[in-house]
Symmetry: C2
Subunit: 179 residues, 2 copies
Amino acid sequence: MAQKNTLQFIILGLLSQESMTGYELTQSFAHEIGEFWQAKHSQIYPLLNKMEDQQLISHVDEVTGTKLAKKRYSITQQGDDVLQEWIAEPTDFISSSKDEFILKLYFIKDKNDKRLTSMFNEQIRLHKEWLQHLKSRNEDLFNKRSQQNAQFGHYLILNHAIDREQNYVQWLETQFNNL
Amino acid sequence: MAQKNTLQFIILGLLSQESMTGYELTQSFAHEIGEFWQAKHSQIYPLLNKMEDQQLISHVDEVTGTKLAKKRYSITQQGDDVLQEWIAEPTDFISSSKDEFILKLYFIKDKNDKRLTSMFNEQIRLHKEWLQHLKSRNEDLFNKRSQQNAQFGHYLILNHAIDREQNYVQWLETQFNNL
DNA sequence: TTAAAACATGTAATTAATTACATGTTTTAA
DNA sequence: TTAAAACATGTAATTAATTACATGTTTTAA
């Protein structure tokens, strides 16, 4: 891929909420953010350096224990300007959603193909599991309405992830029953 | 990105249904396939050459009019073996879905943020428009049940695209009304 | 107390994908 | 008849992203 470096804006967005280390930023992609964008530490660390050069972010050094060095990054005024600009600009939804399972279905021409049953079963299991995971995340984070309002964006996207997953499972089951 | 070259399998899958030119393959990504994977001609043409070197596909030359040269590609036995292997292997759903709009929401902490209304309105418009497009595609292609069975995979993924889009619009509207 | 898991930060090599450049033919609609 | 749109195939340069390598510290659980 090679677009306009969305990752950069995500990092700015995360840092606009609180200062974080590269490790913590990486962790974000294991949670809700990861439902809507993916990145590994090997992409994040170099990008942090680049962004600091551009003065979009800055860091202070920290030490845990006696030796473990960390860099805690914060967003700068310049960085926030760039972030706000990104949020304000129109979002063309270019459905960059990639779904290998659905693609595989496309290539199965015969409705009675033997492989369909096990393929659907596997996907249903995976997605149900994931849905369950998301739901318990939701209970952990937002069991009180006050928490929903305090972190509105976070609540919204987890809510969307659950909704999406729920619909996916439902679709899989409907189609499975029609086979 | 740098995974296991899914595009290659998609090309094999498309060619397993009928022989196609690079241009026609490219066109596929403007239609249903494009809902679940994206690729441009500049990635497709070089890959076709590579795949022909590996004897996964082969081509015959064609001429339209008096001069317009085309290469019509077909899948080889080897290619079909590779395709079947890909379909058979378990599909880890690593939700590589990227959604900038949802990410932007994450970074809006305040439920009363002025920007939310126009952002939601814009997305609702875009997604409704796209949903409409998908629905008319569906009517054009699959108005008869016989056509659904003849191209089962195609029917399934278009059906899924519509279902997904419908759910997305519904979610947007629900959240919008809650603002 | 010790081993494993989690925390923490990086670089090198490679691949996937995009953007931009490049050129020409055929069909369609005004 | 002519101009625009669609058809058709490619390459070059660059960027985004992954995989693999590399090293060390702190915390947790057995």
